[in-house]
Amino acid sequence: MKFIDPHVHMNARTTDDYKAMRDAGVVAVIEPAFWLGQPRTHIGTFIDYYATLLGWERFRASQFGIKHYCTIGLNSKEANNEALAEQVMDILPQYVCKEGVVAIGEIGYDDQTPAEDKFFRAQLELAKEVNIPVMVHTPHRDKKKGTSRSMDVIEEHGIPPQMVVIDHNNEETVQECLDRGYWAGFTIYPKTKMGKERMAAVIEHYGSERIIVNSSADWGSSDPLAVPKCAAVMKERGIDDLHIETCCYHNAIAAYGQSGQFNESDWLNSDSIDQRLLFDGNSVLRGQEPLVE
C-alpha cells in the first residue's frame, strides 16, 4: 500500500527517517512552512527557510525516492511579531506560485490574538487571489472554540470549504468540521494529539470521507512513520483497505491536488532512486553503499 504524509516537518528529521518512510511505503510528503521552535527575528530567516523547503529539502527527499512538496505561509505563532509579519506578507507572493507549493499554510490561530487574526485573514485573501488550497493549523489550547472560529473566518472571506484542510482535529472537533464541508486532518502523535487506536475509532464512526491522516513529525517527540503505522492498526481492527487508502493516500491527493501542483503521476512515473549520482563526501551519503533501484 502507498502512503502520503501530508503534514510533516522533514527539515527537522534525519535521512534515517526518509529511508524508513520510504521502506514503509511513503511516496510523497507535504512539508508545511512553520516556525523553528523559537521565534524568528529577521525577514532573512524566513526567506532562507522558504528557499530551503523549495530547494535542498526537496532534493534531500528525492535522494530517498520520496517526492517532496510544501506549503508556504506565515504561521500563527510568528504572526504575533507584527512588524516582522508585515514583511513576511510582502514576500509571500514571490513564493506561493512556485512549483510544488500545494497550499498556503500552515496558518490559523495559536493564542487567538488580534495579530494572529489579522494575518490569518490576510493570508486567506492571498489564497483566494492565487487560487490554491489552505492548510489550517487549529490551536492546541482552546481547540474546540478556536477551530469553530477558524471555520467562521474562512467562510467570512468566501473561501469554499473544499479548498481548506482543517488540521489537528480530535473527537471534539471532527463532527463540526465534516458537517461544514471541510477536509479534516488528524495528527497522530505518540503521546499527545491523536493516537492510532483513537484514529481507527474515528474512521469506524465517520467513515473515511474527507479525512486525512498525518504525522506532523517535527523536532519534538513524534513519529514520521505514524501514517503507515496507523494504517496497520486500522487493518488489524478490520477496517477495509479502501477506507485506509482513502484517508492515508487518496484524500491528500484530492485536497491538495486542487493546487495543480500535487499529482499522483509525479511519483508513479518518476525515475527510481539512483544514489550513485552523488556519492562520497559531498552528498547526503557519507560512505554508505549507494542505493540503486
Partner: protein, 309 residues
C-alpha cells in the same frame, strides 16, 4: 561598442524562436506577454504607472509560473539551432535545457538594464532577489543562463556559490557546456570546480576549457586526490588525469607511470593521453615502454574515446 541592449536582444530573439517552435500557441503568447511586460517595466515605472514593488512582484510571479505554462520538456535543439547558439555565445551549448529554463531565461534577458544610467543597480537587485528566492528548478534556470548575460564579472560570485551546491543539476548548470567558468573564473575557483566535479561524480568532459586551463596547482591537487583514493582503495574517474598531463611534474610522472600499468585498459589509455600532453622528456620515455598505447595514440586515441556513450 555594442549598444547596451543588443546582446540581450539577440539572446531574446534566439530563445523566442526556440520557444515559439515548441510551445502551444497559448503558452507562447503567455511567455511573450510576460517578456514584453518585463521589458517595458522601467518605462512604466518612469511614468509611475507601475511601482517598483509591483514590477518585482510581476517578475517573480512570471518567473515562478513559467513552468506551469511552458512545461519541462527537453528542447532537443537541432543542428541549426545549436549552430545559432554557438554564434550567439561561443562554446555555449544548451544540450540539456528544457522549456522552463528557456522561458525563464527569456524573462531574464528582458529585464531592463543600461550601461551607465544607474540601471545596472536595479538589474542586479532583480537578479539577486530571484537567486535568493529560487526553488530547485528556478536555481537551475538562473545558473544555466549566466553565460548569456552581460556584465559577466558581476556574476562570478553567484556562480561560485552555485558550485557549492551538492545538487548535481545545479552544479552542471554552471560547469557544463558553458564558456563562463573558463572565461571568468580565477585559478583557484577553476581548480575547486574541477575537484568538486570529481567529488560529486559529475563528468569532466562537458566542462569547456579543460585543456586550456590546466595549471600546476591543479596538477598537484589532483595528484593528491588520486593518492587519497588509492589509499582508500576507491575508484578514480580516469578523466582526472586529463588535467594533470599538461603541467605534470616529476611526482605526476610517477603517478602516470603507475597508472599506465593498471589492470584497467581505460586507465592505461588515460595515462597515455596524459603523458602525451606533457612536455617533459620523462613522459616520452614512459610512453615508449608501452608500444600498444603509443600505437593507439598514433591511430587517433582521444579523451572522448574513453567516454562510455
Amino acid at each position: 561598442m555594442h549598444p547596451p541592449h543588443s546582446h540581450h536582444s539577440q539572446a531574446s530573439a534566439f530563445l523566442s524562436n526556440v520557444l515559439q517552435a515548441r510551445l502551444s500557441d497559448e503558452a507562447w503568447q503567455w511567455c511573450k506577454q510576460q517578456a514584453d511586460n518585463i521589458a517595458q517595466s522601467d518605462e512604466q515605472s518612469d511614468v509611475h504607472t507601475i511601482s517598483h514593488k509591483q514590477q518585482q512582484r510581476q517578475l517573480h510571479i512570471a518567473f515562478s509560473s513559467a513552468v506551469r505554462y511552458c512545461g519541462k520538456n527537453a528542447l532537443r535543439l537541432n543542428a541549426d539551432e545549436l549552430a545559432a547558439a554557438h554564434e550567439l555565445c561561443p562554446h555555449w551549448q544548451p544540450l540539456h535545457w528544457t522549456t522552463d529554463i528557456a522561458a525563464r531565461t527569456l524573462l531574464i534577458v528582458n529585464i531592463p538594464h543600461d550601461d551607465g544610467g544607474g540601471g545596472d543597480k536595479a538589474y542586479q537587485q532583480s537578479l539577486d532577489a530571484l537567486f535568493q528566492s529560487a526553488d530547485l528548478n528556478e536555481s537551475i534556470a538562473l545558473y544555466s543562463c549566466l553565460p548569456l548575460l552581460l556584465m559577466a564579472h558581476s556574476h562570478v560570485q553567484r556562480a561560485g556559490e552555485g558550485l557549492r551546491s551538492n545538487v548535481q543539476a545545479i552544479f552542471t548548470a554552471i560547469a557544463h557546456n558553458s564558456p563562463f567558468p573558463q572565461l571568468h573564473f580565477a585559478e583557484n575557483n577553476w581548480n575547486q570546480m574541477i575537484l568538486k566535479a570529481l567529488f560529486i561524480d559529475v563528468p569532466l568532459y562537458p566542462i569547456v576549457g579543460l585543456d586550456d586551463r590546466a595549471n600546476p596547482a591543479l596538477t598537484r591537487m589532483l595528484c593528491d586526490y588520486a593518492h587519497e583514493r588509492w589509499a582508500a582503495s576507491r575508484a578514480i574517474n580516469p578523466e582526472l588525469w586529463r588535467c594533470v598531463g599538461y603541467c605534470a611534474d616529476q611526482q605526476a610522472l610517477t603517478d602516470l607511470e603507475k597508472l599506465i600499468q593498471s589492470e584497467n585498459l581505460i586507465e592505461q589509455q588515460a595515462a597515455a593521453l596524459a603523458l602525451q600532453s606533457s612536455s617533459l622528456a620523462g613522459a616520452q620515455k614512459i610512453l615508449k615502454q608501452h608500444p600498444h598505447r603509443l600505437r593507439e595514440l598514433h591511430d587517433g586515441l582521444q579523451w572522448s574515446s574513453l567516454i562510455p556513450r
